[in-house]
């Protein structure tokens, strides 16, 4: 079959997450229902009201110089990008037709904090000359672009917890518009430190279940009390279908569409009407030429906050109507925690794998579905999937709503 012009396919996946150092171990972790959350043991934790998080399962296996000149978010992006690139068969591509969209919600905050300590304790002469390229939010995209020689543009859309999804949506536009044949797209975040935890805790956004880290992330559950901060990176190799076909690439699935909207409601609070989320979902379906009844699976944003999870359910109902009743919904964050700017990228990977492997990893810690949430949430046991489209939602502080649509 001749591929549709400018159809965008996925040819490689990479990730480093709280569940594993690569995609296979992360996927295995999700299927077996493991939690990546644990109690933190660093000295700075004692002062904090929240003492749990979901750190990387495997430290980035990079050399000393890379560790010295790259922020942790850049290191993780590089690990995920290398895996994705190898998974795509290390494509031969004209460098002027290769682009990068790798996002971060916060950027190099660990570097910023550490170097601020260096400045105060040892003076300006001891501040690393690498500090600016390490803390800039486009640093990870630049690192990946340099590693693969991308000359068709390097982008880092910043939209808080929707950043990873927005990067993938931007990559779709770039390939559809003919500006590149391959885009390395995804997100990365490394923000497990006292200041970000204290800040999110002050917003009442984090779970305070310090004594039960593995059951603290409880999306859709009546007892949920906030998200668990995670870290990690995920990357997809997106490619025009013609380019993939011409090089005989293995195609994992299709990025069929993407929808982006904004709430114009509040800088951080979720719009309880779900209107913005619904607009993003509808836009994704239009972009993918899909109907609500084509959708069989939704990987929800579902961070485990009291208001956010309800609003997402309301938004999905607005967008999908009765079709929602036969859609299997899950939350990856019940196991990985919330990877902020990497969350959408990781969940895009998981959505695609769910469609491809025809199984939805169950949402963990869902003991009693919130009465205000009318969703068919996959819980307790993983569920087999039929054939159809899958959606992945991501929302971010700032009122960002992004929905990605995949088919296999």
């Amino acid at each position: 079959m001749t591929p549709t012009p400018r159809q965008v396919v996925v040819t490689g996946l990479g990730a480093t997450t709280p569940l594993g150092g690569d995609v296979p171990s992360t996927w295995e972790g999700l299927l077996s229902g493991r939690s990546g959350a644990r109690r933190l043991t660093e000295d700075w934790v004692e002062q904090l009201p929240v003492q749990i998080a979901a750190p990387l399962a495997v430290e980035p296996p990079l050399g000393r110089v890379e560790a010295r000149t790259l922020d942790r978010s850049q290191q993780m992006a590089l690990v995920a990008a290398r895996e994705a690139w190898a998974d795509a068969g290390s494509p031969e591509v004209d460098s002027e037709r290769l682009a990068v969209c790798v996002a971060s919600g916060i950027g190099g905050v660990l570097t910023l904090l550490h170097q601020h300590d260096v400045l105060r304790e040892k003076g300006p002469r001891r501040v690393s000359p690498h500090v600016v390229p390490m803390l800039m939010p486009n640093g990870p995209a630049s690192t990946v672009g340099l590693a693969f020689g991308a000359k068709a543009g390097v982008h880092a859309p910043v939209s808080a917890c929707a950043s990873g999804s927005e990067a993938i949506a931007l990559a779709l536009d770039i390939i559809r518009a003919g500006r590149a044949d391959i885009v390395i797209a995804g997100g990365t975040e490394a923000a497990i430190a006292a200041l970000p935890i204290a800040g999110f805790a002050q917003m009442q956004a984090l779970s305070k279940r310090n004594d039960a880290p593995e059951t603290a992330s409880r999306p859709f559950d009546k007892g949920r009390d906030g998200f668990v901060l995670g870290e990690g990176a995920a990357v997809l190799v997106l490619e025009s279908a013609e380019h993939a076909a011409a090089r005989g690439a293995r195609v994992l699935g299709t990025l069929a569409g993407a929808g982006i909207s904004s709430d114009a409601y509040h800088v951080a609070a979720t719009d309880p009407t779900g209107a913005g989320a619904a607009r993003a979902v509808r836009a994704a379906l239009r972009s993918a030429s899909l109907e609500p009844t084509d959708v069989i699976h939704i990987n929800a944003h579902a961070t485990s906050t009291p208001i956010g999870d309800v609003a997402e359910g309301v938004g999905l109902r607005l967008a999908l109507g009765d079709a929602l009743d036969s859609i299997a919904v899950t939350s990856t964050k019940s196991m990985t925690g919330h990877l902020l700017g990497a969350a959408g990228a990781l969940e895009a990977v998981v959505t695609l794998l769910s469609l491809r492997e025809r199984v939805v990893p169950a949402t963990r810690n869902l003991d009693a579905l919130d009465d205000e949430i009318a969703l068919d949430v996959v819980s307790i046991d993983n569920r087999e999937l039929g054939t159809g489209a899958g959606l992945s939602n991501s929302f971010g502080f700032g009122g960002h709503d992004v929905c990605l649509a995949f088919t296999v």
Binding site: V65, R68, P129, H130, P133
Partner: protein
């Protein structure tokens, strides 16, 4: 301090900061073209050298240090002056 000691000290810094093999660090090598030390890492090398050898290397002098040999001679002179 002897030139050989300074060379060894610089090699250790270059290995730490820029991953340069100590065996590659010889007087005739240029930092940027031969040892692939970029301008940012060169700043780290200079700061580490100041600390290790107890000398001051002003920014305007750093530009004159093209080769490892230039740096060894500079540090030796600066050390004597100090």
């Amino acid at each position: 301090m002897s030139q050989a000691d300074i060379l060894d000290g610089l090699a250790a810094i270059l290995e730490e900061v820029a991953g340069v093999e100590p065996a590659d660090v010889t007087a005739d090598k240029t930092f940027i073209d031969d040892l692939d030390v970029d301008s940012l890492s060169m700043v780290e090398v200079v700061v580490a050298a100041e600390e290790k050898f107890g000398v001051k290397i002003p920014d305007e002098d750093v530009k004159t240090l093209k080769t490892v040999g230039d740096a060894v001679s500079y540090i030796q002179r600066a050390g004597v002056a100090a």
